[in-house]
Amino acid sequence: MTELVQTIVLGLLIGGVYALAASGLTLIFGVMNVINVAHGAFLILAAYVTFAVWTRTGIDPLVFALATTPAMFALGWLVYKLLVSRIAGAPASMSVLLTFAFALVIEGILGLVYKGVFRAMTPSYFDESFHLGGLFFPKAQVYAAALAVGLLVLLYLVLTRTWLGRAIRASAQNPSGARLVGVDPGAVAALTFALGIATTGAAGSAIGVLYPFFPAAHYAWISRLLGIIVLGGMGSLPGALVGAMLLGVAETTTSTYFSVRWATAVPYVLILVVLLLRPHGLFGERVREDVVTA
C-alpha cells in the first residue's frame, strides 16, 4: 500500500514539471494550430544552458530557471518572427516540418558543442529526500514541482487577468472575431509562441536536475509532451495539467510494477490509443469542420 502511494506521489511530483512544459506546447497549438515539434529541443537547450552556467558558476539550476525562462521567451519571440510567422495559414504538416527542422539544428549544434554524451546536474540536495509518514519526497523533485506550480499559476494569471491573456484566448477561439475587435493576430501569435517557449526555460532547467540528458533526448521529451497534450485534448490547458499528472503516474507505476524498460513506451502507447479511441482527448473540443473560414 505504502509502495503504491509512494509511486503515485512520485508520479504527481514529476507530473508537475511535465505540466509546465506541456502547457506551452498546448498553448501554441491552441492559439496558432502549430505543433511545435521543437518543444523538446528547446527543453534540452535550456537544460544545457543551465548546465553550462552551473558547471562554471555553481548557480543552483532551479534558481537559474528564473533566468532561462525570460531567455527562452525572447528566443521564442525571435523564432516566431523570423521563421514560424512566414508559414502562418499553411497546413499543420508544414509547421511540423519547419519546427522539426529547427529541432534538428538545435540537436546538431548541441552535439557539436557538447558531444552526444549523457550530462547530469547534481546540486548538493540531488540525492536527499524529505520524509513524511513512511513516504519519501526527493528534495530535487519537490523543489522542481514547486517551481513548476508557481510558474503555472503565473501563466494562469497572465492568461486570465491581463489584456494579453484575453487577446490570446480570443485569438484561439475566433481569430477573425479577435481581429475585428482590434487584436493584432500577428503580435498576439508572436507573444503566445514566446510564452509557450518560455515554459521550456524553467522546465528545461528542472529536467536537467531530474534526468540525465543528451542532445538526442529531445525526441523522448517531445513524445512525452505530445502524449500529454493528446491525452488532455490538444489546445486545452486544463487538459495538459491533468494529462501530465496521469502520464507521470502511469510512468512511475509502469516502472514500479512492470518494467523500467517499458516505462518509456507509455507515451507512445498513450498517443496511439488516445488518438484512435478519443481523438479530441479528455478536455479537447470537437471542432465544427464544415464551416469554411475565408
Binding site: A101, E107, L112
Partner: protein, 604 residues
C-alpha cells in the same frame, strides 16, 4: 504538357542515365562509388514510396522509416531458421511491411491532419522500443546479424547495387502507374478536399489504406536488402527518425506528388550527405545541414524544385494564350443522361424520393437542425429557403452524409440512408454542390469532371484515370454547361461562376437521381443565373429531381415548385411559390416579430 522535342530529349536523357547506372558496376569496381550510389537508390526507393501516401494523398508521415526496420528485422528473423540467401527473403520483408501498414493504416486512417503526423512518429519510436526490449526475438540492443555474403570480394557491393536498382525501377513504376489510374486521381482528390471526395462517391478509407500499404511494401523489401548489406544492425539505427527526415527532405527537395521529384531529390540529398561527410564530418554536422535545408525548403520552396520549374514553364507557355469564354446558350441535355433518367423513371405516379424525418443536429448548445421533417417528390425542382442560420446547409450535410444526424431518419429512394457513409449515398444517387465551390484546384477541369465515381469496385481502382468513353461523356457535360473549351484548364484558374458550372458538370457525371444545389446563383452574374436556371429546367425535363437552397427569390419563385421554408432548424411551411409568399409564418421567419408592430394602426 511539354512540347514534343522537350519530351523526346527528356526520354533520351532518362534512358541514357538508366543505361549508365545499369552498366556502371561492370565498368568500374570502385567500391566507394557503388556504395554511395546504392545508398542513393535506397533513399530514392523510400522517397518514391513515401510520395504515394504523402505526396499524392497528402497525408504526411514522419515515421516512414519504420517500414525499413520492419522489413530488415523480418528478413533477419526468418533468415535465422533458413539457409537460403537473404536475397530470396526480400519478399518476406515486403509482406511484413505491407501487413503492418495494412493493420496500422486500417486504424490510423480514421485520423486526419496533425493526429496522423503524430501517430506515425509515435509508431516509429514504439517499434524501436519493441525491437530494443523484445531481445529474445530481435537481439535487442545487441543487434541482429545476417550471414556474410559468399561472393568474391571484387564484387563486394555489386549484388546490392543491382538489387536496389531493380527496386528503384519497381517503385518508380508503381508510382507512375498509380498516378495514371482512378486510384491515383482519387488520392489527389483526397489531398485536395477529403470531404468533397467522399461526397462525389470516392470510398476514401479504402483509398487511404491502400495508399499506405503501397507506400510501405517496397520500403519493406528494401529493408531486407539493406539489412543484408549492413550485415549487422541494431534497433536505433534501423528504426531511425533521421532516415524518415531524409525521406521527407528528398521528396520536398525534388517535388511532392511528382514521379521524378522524389528520385532526383534523393540523389541530390545523397550527394549533399557525402559532401557533408567529407568536408564537415560527423553526424552532428548532418543534423545541422539537414535542419537548415529542410527549413529553407519549407519556407522558400514548399512545392519542391520540379513543380516550381514546371510552374515557370507552364506560365511562359500559357502567357498570351487567349482565355476561352463560357458559351451561354440553351442546348439539350446530353443523351447519356436521358438514358439513365428513363430507366429511373417511374411513370406518372409521384412518390417521395427523399424523406427527412425529425432530423436533429446540434453544435455545442446550438441546434442547427432541430426536428426537421420534409420530403422531396420525385421529378420536382424543390426549393429550400430560409433566413441565414436556419440550418439549410447543415441539412444538406446531413442528407449527403458529410455529417451524421444526432437523431431522426433520412430515407432515399425507399431505403434508410442516415447510417451510411457519404460515398455510399453518392452511389445510391445523391449528388450535391457546395455553397462555396469546392473543385480540386490542382486538377484540370476535365479531371475534375471525371473524378466522381458511381460505384466502388476493385477493378475500377486500376482503371485509367481518364478513359475514352468517360472523357467523351465529360466533354459532353462540359459542353452542356457551356464550359466545353475549358477541359484542359487548371480548376484554380477559373472564375467563381465558371467553377459553379464545372461543379454542376461534376455532379451530373455522378448521374444522381437527386441533385442538391447549395446556392447555385450565389455570387454569379445575372446572365449566368438565367443560364443556370435554364439548365436546371432542361435537366428536370429529363427526369432529374432537384433540391435547391437559394436566396435569390425571383429565381426560386420562377423555377421551383414546391418551396420548403426552414426556420430555426425545422421546416415551418411548404407549398407552391404563391402559397409560401402569402404565408405569415414565412414573413415572420424572415423579418422577425417586430415586423408586425410596424403595421398600420387598427390592423390587429
Amino acid at each position: 504538357m511539354s512540347p514534343r522535342p522537350v519530351r523526346v530529349a527528356g526520354a533520351v536523357g532518362i534512358g541514357a542515365a538508366a543505361a549508365a547506372l545499369a552498366v556502371y558496376p561492370l565498368l568500374s569496381h570502385n567500391a566507394y562509388h557503388q556504395n554511395v550510389l546504392l545508398l542513393a537508390f535506397l533513399l530514392a526507393v523510400m522517397a518514391s514510396s513515401w510520395n504515394i501516401i504523402s505526396g499524392y494523398a497528402g497525408y504526411v508521415s514522419l515515421g516512414h522509416s519504420v517500414f525499413l526496420g520492419i522489413g530488415a528485422y523480418a528478413v533477419a528473423i526468418t533468415g535465422e531458421h533458413l539457409t537460403v540467401s537473404p536475397f530470396w527473403l526480400t519478399p518476406v520483408g515486403a509482406v511484413a511491411a505491407a501487413l503492418s501498414a495494412l493493420v496500422l493504416g486500417a486504424v490510423i486512417m480514421r485520423t486526419r491532419g496533425h493526429s496522423f503526423v503524430i501517430i506515425t512518429i509515435a509508431f516509429l519510436f514504439l517499434m524501436q522500443l519493441v525491437a530494443l526490449n523484445w531481445s529474445s526475438l530481435t537481439g535487442g540492443s545487441g543487434g541482429a546479424t545476417l550471414p556474410l555474403p559468399r561472393w568474391s570480394l571484387d564484387w563486394v557491393y555489386t549484388p546490392f547495387y543491382y538489387a536496389l536498382l531493380v527496386l528503384l525501377a519497381l517503385s518508380m513504376l508503381l508510382s507512375w502507374w498509380i498516378r495514371r489510374t482512378k486510384f491515383g486521381t482519387g488520392l489527389i482528390a483526397i489531398r485536395e478536399d477529403e470531404n468533397k471526395a467522399a461526397a462525389i462517391g470516392i470510398t476514401t478509407p479504402v483509398y487511404k489504406v491502400l495508399a499506405f500499404v503501397a507506400s510501405a511494401v517496397l520500403i519493406g523489401a528494401a529493408g531486407g536488402i539493406y539489412g543484408y548489406f549492413l550485415n549487422f544492425f541494431e534497433p536505433r539505427g534501423m528504426f531511425n527518425i533521421l532516415t524518415s527526415v531524409e525521406i521527407v527532405l528528398a521528396v520536398l527537395l525534388g517535388g511532392r506528388a511528382t514521379i521524378w521529384g522524389p528520385v532526383l531529390g534523393a540523389f541530390a540529398l545523397q550527394g549533399i550527405k557525402e559532401a557533408t561527410n567529407v568536408y564537415l564530418g560527423g553526424s552532428e554536422a548532418h543534423l545541422v545541414v539537414f535542419g537548415v535545408l529542410m527549413g529553407l525548403v519549407v519556407l522558400f520552396m514548399p512545392r519542391g524544385v520540379l513543380p516550381t520549374v514546371s510552374g515557370w514553364v507552364e506560365r511562359r507557355q500559357t502567357a498570351g494564350v487567349a482565355v476561352p469564354s463560357i458559351e451561354v446558350r440553351a442546348r439539350p441535355a446530353p443523351a447519356s443522361l436521358e438514358a439513365r433518367a428513363a430507366t429511373n423513371g417511374h411513370g406518372g405516379g409521384r412518390r417521395a424520393l427523399l424523406e427527412v424525418k425529425g432530423a436533429r443536429k446540434s453544435f455545442g448548445g446550438i441546434s442547427a437542425v432541430d426536428g426537421c421533417s420534409l420530403s422531396v417528390q420525385e421529378g420536382t425542382i424543390t426549393a429550400l429557403i430560409g433566413p441565414n442560420g436556419s440550418g439549410k446547409t447543415t441539412l444538406f450535410n446531413l442528407i449527403d452524409g458529410t455529417m451524421r444526424a444526432d437523431a431522426g431518419e433520412i430515407w432515399f429512394d425507399g431505403r434508410q440512408i442516415d447510417g451510411q457513409r457519404p460515398w455510399v449515398r453518392a452511389h445510391a444517387g445523391i449528388g450535391r454542390t457546395f455553397q462555396i465551390t469546392r473543385l480540386f484546384h490542382q486538377m484540370t477541369v476535365l479531371e475534375n469532371v471525371v473524378a466522381p465515381l458511381r460505384s466502388f469496385s476493385w477493378r475500377q481502382l486500376a482503371a485509367d484515370a481518364v478513359s475514352g468513353p468517360e472523357a467523351a461523356r465529360a466533354e459532353e457535360l462540359l459542353d452542356f454547361v457551356g464550359m466545353g473549351k475549358f477541359g484542359g484548364v487548371r480548376a484554380a484558374a477559373l472564375s467563381y461562376g465558371q467553377q459553379k458550372l464545372v461543379e454542376l458538370a461534376q455532379v451530373l457525371m455522378l448521374d444522381s437521381k437527386l441533385i442538391m444545389l447549395d446556392e447555385p446563383a450565389g455570387g454569379i452574374n445575372p446572365t449566368l443565373i438565367e443560364h443556370m436556371a435554364e439548365m436546371i429546367r432542361e435537366l428536370n425535363r429529363q427526369g432529374k429531381t432537384f433540391l435547391i437552397v437559394e436566396h435569390n427569390m425571383p429565381l426560386v419563385l420562377g423555377l421551383c415548385d414546391p418551396v420548403l421554408v426552414l426556420a430555426r432548424g425545422s421546416c415551418i411551411c411548404s407549398g407552391t411559390p404563391s402559397e409560401v409568399q402569402a404565408d405569415p409564418r414565412v414573413l415572420d421567419a424572415y423579418l422577425g416579430e417586430d415586423f408586425r408592430l410596424e403595421q398600420p394602426a387598427g390592423v390587429p
